[in-house]
Every structure is written in structure tokens, then in C-alpha cells.
């Protein structure tokens, strides 16, 4: 498998504080790749660099063989990277359906075709019955799913998910995990996720990267990584391994 996303020696400082420190990794096409680490480890900053919100101070990001590290967020999305936000931000006054239609319009100029595609995505994420509600009225789990639906509607090749499981009940987590696996399997969608919920990481990820103080401390398949003493020490704690 070739690397769809290649992050090479990426760093980012905020007023002297090193948020991301020379991080390198590659996400193969079709993979589900997780980034874990304690709060403040630089996971979201890393995501924002990939999504074009920040330019890296050093290093490069390449997507499908082309550098994207100087592009603005909208052009990165048009290249085929969809994202969700850690603190959800759907378009509050728009209906659930219209939120997803906006995403679907990225690759479609016809509103009717975009609406049809939006319906498809809404059904997949079990939001179809709530399509006429304003996004602001949804519960947090539903808003997280709506963010995923909106990002998926842009037909991304790579989906960046920033803690979409946080605050969900275990059954809801399992449901999202199943949906993501299905989309990954059926459409070959590559997924890069930041996640604290180890239950989801273990069930989903082919490969895990662990960040600590902005630097990579481990990378590998999930079962190996969770036994890595450095990872247990800095992040998981002893009981998590059991």
C-alpha cells in the first residue's frame, strides 16, 4: 500500500512553546490510523497543520504525492481531506439536512444532486429522521455524527476525526466504530483519528501513533503500542492495559 498522507519532520511552535516536535509518519491508503496521547500532547495542532489551519514551522505534509503544507483549509478540503472539529461546529441555524447539503455541494454544482447525496449520507449515520431539525437543537452525540456526515458528504479520500467518540456512551461508540469500519471497507476511505477512547482505538485502528509533549514516542499496531513501557508511563497508566 502506498502512503496517502505523508507527514515528514513537522514542527510547530507557539510563542516558544513547542506544540509539535519533528513528527513523522505515513498513513497508507485505505488504513485507519489513530493518534493518541495525553491532553496537550499536540494532537489537535498536528491535525490543524494537516487540515491547513496552521502552516508548520518546519517539515512537510504531502497528500497523494503532492505537498499541501502551504495550502488554506478550503483548498485542502477540495484536494480530498475532510475533517471534524474537536469542539463541534455545525452550522447552527441550518437544518441537519442543509448542513450536509453544504458539504455535498463541494463536488456537485446541482443542489438536487447534492440533496440526494446528503440523504444517502444521513441514512448511513442514522440522522435521516432528524434531517429537518435545526442543527443547534441536536444532542452532542448527534452533533458529532452530523459533523462526520458533513465531512463525509464532501467525498473525501482521507477523513480526519478529532475526538468524535469523546462524551459518547459505549453503545454509541460501538455504533460509530461499526459505521466507520463499514465506510472504510466499502469505499476504501482512509481515516486518521485523534482519540482518547481506547475502546474505539483498539477496535478500529490498524496503526497507532503516540504523541507526548509534541513528539512521537511510539508507533505500531495497537496491541504492541499499548504494551510499550513508554506509552504506559506517559499516557495509559497500568490499569488500561488489562
Amino acid at each position: 500500500m502506498s502512503a496517502l498522507l505523508k507527514v515528514d519532520g513537522v514542527s510547530r511552535r507557539f510563542r516558544g512553546l513547542v506544540a509539535v516536535d519533528q513528527v513523522s509518519f505515513a498513513v497508507p491508503e485505505g488504513a485507519i490510523f489513530a493518534v493518541i496521547g495525553p491532553n496537550g500532547a499536540g494532537k489537535t495542532t498536528l491535525f490543524n497543520i494537516i487540515a491547513g489551519v496552521f502552516a508548520p514551522d518546519g517539515g512537510t505534509v504531502a497528500f497523494a504525492g503532492e505537498r499541501i503544507d502551504s495550502l488554506p483549509p478550503d483548498r485542502i478540503c477540495r484536494r480530498g481531506i475532510g475533517r471534524t472539529f474537536q469542539l463541534v461546529r455545525p452550522f447552527p441555524a441550518l437544518s441537519v439536512e442543509d448542513n450536509v447539503v453544504v458539504g455535498a455541494l463541494m463536488k456537485r454544482s446541482n443542489v438536487g444532486a447534492a440533496r440526494a447525496h446528503a440523504h444517502e449520507v444521513l441514512r448511513r449515520l442514522d440522522l435521516y429522521d432528524k434531517r429537518d431539525l435545526p442543527a443547534a437543537s441536536l444532542t452532542l452525540p448527534d452533533r458529532k455524527r452530523l459533523e462526520m456526515a458533513r465531512a463525509l458528504a464532501t467525498d473525501p479520500k482521507l477523513l480526519l476525526l478529532d475526538e468524535v467518540m469523546a462524551g459518547l456512551r459505549p453503545t454509541e461508540t460501538d455504533h460509530i466504530v461499526a459505521v466507520l469500519k463499514e465506510i472504510n471497507r466499502e469505499h476504501g476511505l482512509t481515516i486518521l483519528l485523534i482519540e482518547h477512547v481506547m475502546r474505539a482505538v483498539m477496535a478500529l485502528a490498524d496503526r497507532v501513533l503516540v504523541l507526548h509533549h509534541g513528539a512521537k514516542i511510539a508507533e505500531g499496531i495497537p496491541t504492541e503500542v499499548v504494551r510499550d513501557p513508554a506509552v504506559i508511563d506517559s499516557y495509559l497508566g497500568v490499569e488500561a492495559v488489562e
Binding site: 489551519v53 483549509p73 478550503d74 478540503c77 452550522f91 447552527p92 442543509d98 453544504v102 463541494m106
Partner: protein, 334 residues
């Protein structure tokens, strides 16, 4: 095309719209000269309010300087007519691009350098004020002494040169309001309309789904400025005199935005309803005060303030969404 335009609109709303349109078409037959001037003013504000609403209500960009586009449109067409005898419809070919360029200039400055929110609003005021002072000293357009269009008694209405009876201006503005209404609905139903709403709701999220926010905000400003310039042209040929202190005044800009705020920002019918409510009631008040022989300077402004206060307190989304629900037309006011 008509099918798409009225798709999803409740039957009752269509019937009501039809009745309103018939009433508006017949109004000059029964209206007195005074009432006609009030109706002209109402449709003027209804039209400009819709233009402003594209920027604020759809794309979320607050302009407090729309008098700039009215003034540029008015002065362009009037100066061409006074100096070269060029009629207003040809004058539009200059007036609209001038206003569009001014809008693009403000938009470029603001959106390129990420001037947003309150600072954007201040920038729009600043440019309008700059124009006011500039035209005060521009001798070609009469400077502060004003620009006057030749007024003769015309035997019949000349629509081509916009010379004639107020009834002609009434129908002209009515048609403009209806076309603007239809145009706004078509915009809202199109791709660009969805992108505008996304930008209004959350610009960063809009960028994350691939929307080139700079480009679509620019389009909103240019469309809004161009539409407003047309109102400026009509303004010039209706009043026949232009003073920088009057057309470019910030009070003009404020009066333009009051209608949509009272009617319902971001709704299609709000700007029209708002113009009726505000201008209608304010003129009634002025007439009533005059009838009982009381002359209170600024009574209209106080009235506007009270209206705004009431609406903000009782119906922060505007009068139209409330009326729409009451009439059973659905909440979104389309």
C-alpha cells in the same frame, strides 16, 4: 424555472403573494398623491433592504455604509445625464460598475486582511464617509452645493429618460422589488446561497468543507452593491437633486438597514415587510403630527428607535418569522 421557483412554497403563501401583488398594482388608482409618495418610499426601502440583506442576512457581513452604493449610483447616472445628456438606463452601465468596484474594494481590503465583524462594519462606514467628504469637494458634480437634474413639465411619462409622474417611479420600484425578491430566492436555492449561509453560520467550518470564503463574500458584496446602485439611479431621477451631505449620510445607511432588521434579517420577505411597517408607520406619524399642528424635529428618528427597541425585545428574529408562523406559512419565511 417557475416550477422550481415556487417548489415547496405553501399554497396559502402563493395566494397571499398574488393578492399582495394585485393590491400593489392597483394601489395608484386609489392612492392620493401623498400616499403615493409614501408607497414609493416603501418600495425604495424594500428594494434596498433586500440588497443589503444579501450581504448581512445571507453572507453574514454587516455593512453600515450602503449609502455609499446609493450615492455612487445616483451621482454616476445624474452626472452623465446633466453633463452629457446620457439617459439613466445607459447610465446604469456606469453606475453599477462604479458601485460594484467600490464594494469590491471594501471587500478586498476587509476579506484579504481578515477584517471581520465590527471592524468590517466600521470600514464600510469609513469609506462611505470618505465618499461624502470627497463629493463635497468634487466640482464636477456640484460639490456641496448639490447636483440638480433639469426639471420640466413633461406632457407624458418618459420611461427611457425617467422623466415623469411619480406613478411611473412607483411601478418601477415595485417591479424592482419583485425582481429582487425572485432573484434573492433563486440565489438562496442555489449553490452560492448554501455557501453564503454556511459562511454566515461559521466561517471556519465553511472553509473546512472546501468553501473559498473570500470569493463568496466578494460575490455577495458585489451583487449587493450593484443592486443598491440601481436604487441610487432611481433616487437621483426621482428627487432630481443630490447633496453629498444627504445621500452619503450615515443616517441613510442606517435607514436602509432598519427595514430588514425589523422585518427579519436573512428572510426573503422580511425586508419588504419591514419597509412597510417602518416607513409606513413613520410617515403616518409624521402626517398625524402635522395634522394636529405639532412639529417635533426628530420625531421620526425617535419612532425608529422605539420600533427597533420593541422588535429586539419582543421579536429578535424580526416581525416576518412571527407573522409567517401566525399565517401558517412555515417558519422560515420563504
Amino acid at each position: 424555472m417557475i416550477g422550481r421557483l415556487i417548489e415547496g412554497v405553501p399554497r396559502r403563501a402563493l395566494i397571499l403573494l398574488g393578492l399582495l401583488l394585485v393590491a400593489a398594482l392597483l394601489a395608484p388608482l386609489v392612492a392620493s398623491d401623498y400616499l403615493l409618495t409614501v408607497l414609493i418610499l416603501i418600495f425604495y426601502f424594500a428594494y434596498v433592504g433586500q440588497a443589503w440583506n444579501i450581504m448581512m442576512g445571507f453572507a453574514g457581513q454587516l455593512s453600515l455604509g450602503h449609502a455609499l452604493y446609493v450615492g455612487l449610483g445616483a451621482y454616476s447616472a445624474a452626472a452623465l445625464f446633466v453633463h452629457f445628456g446620457i439617459g439613466p438606463w445607459i447610465g446604469l452601465l456606469v453606475a453599477v460598475p462604479v458601485a460594484a468596484l467600490a464594494g469590491a474594494f471594501i471587500g478586498y481590503l476587509a476579506f484579504r486582511f481578515r477584517v471581520g465583524g465590527v471592524y468590517f462594519a466600521i470600514l464600510t462606514i469609513a469609506v462611505a464617509e470618505f465618499a461624502r467628504v470627497g463629493f463635497d469637494h468634487l466640482n464636477w458634480t456640484g460639490a456641496s452645493a448639490g447636483l440638480f437634474l433639469p426639471v420640466k413639465q413633461y406632457a407624458h411619462n418618459n420611461l427611457w429618460l425617467l422623466r415623469g409622474h411619480p406613478v411611473m417611479f412607483y411601478y418601477l420600484l415595485l417591479v424592482a422589488t419583485v425582481l429582487a425578491f425572485i432573484g434573492c430566492r433563486m440565489l438562496l436555492q442555489s449553490r452560492i446561497g448554501y455557501f453564503w449561509l454556511a459562511i454566515r453560520e461559521d466561517e471556519e467550518a465553511a472553509r473546512s468543507v472546501g468553501i473559498d470564503t473570500f470569493r463568496y463574500k466578494m460575490v455577495a458584496v458585489v451583487i449587493s452593491a450593484s443592486m443598491t446602485a440601481f436604487a441610487g439611479v432611481v433616487f437621483a431621477f426621482y428627487y432630481n437633486n443630490l447633496f453629498p451631505e444627504q445621500v452619503f449620510n450615515i443616517a441613510q445607511s442606517i435607514e436602509i438597514i432598519l427595514g430588514p432588521i425589523v422585518g427579519g434579517i436573512g428572510t426573503l420577505f422580511g425586508p419588504i415587510l419591514g419597509a412597510f411597517v417602518l416607513t409606513g408607520l413613520a410617515e403616518t406619524l409624521t402626517a398625524a403630527l402635522a395634522a394636529i399642528g405639532v412639529d417635533i424635529p426628530g420625531a421620526k428618528q425617535v419612532f425608529y428607535g422605539l420600533c427597533l427597541l420593541l422588535v429586539i425585545l419582543a421579536l429578535p428574529d424580526g416581525v416576518w418569522p412571527w407573522v409567517s408562523r401566525r399565517l401558517g406559512l412555515g417558519g422560515d419565511g420563504k
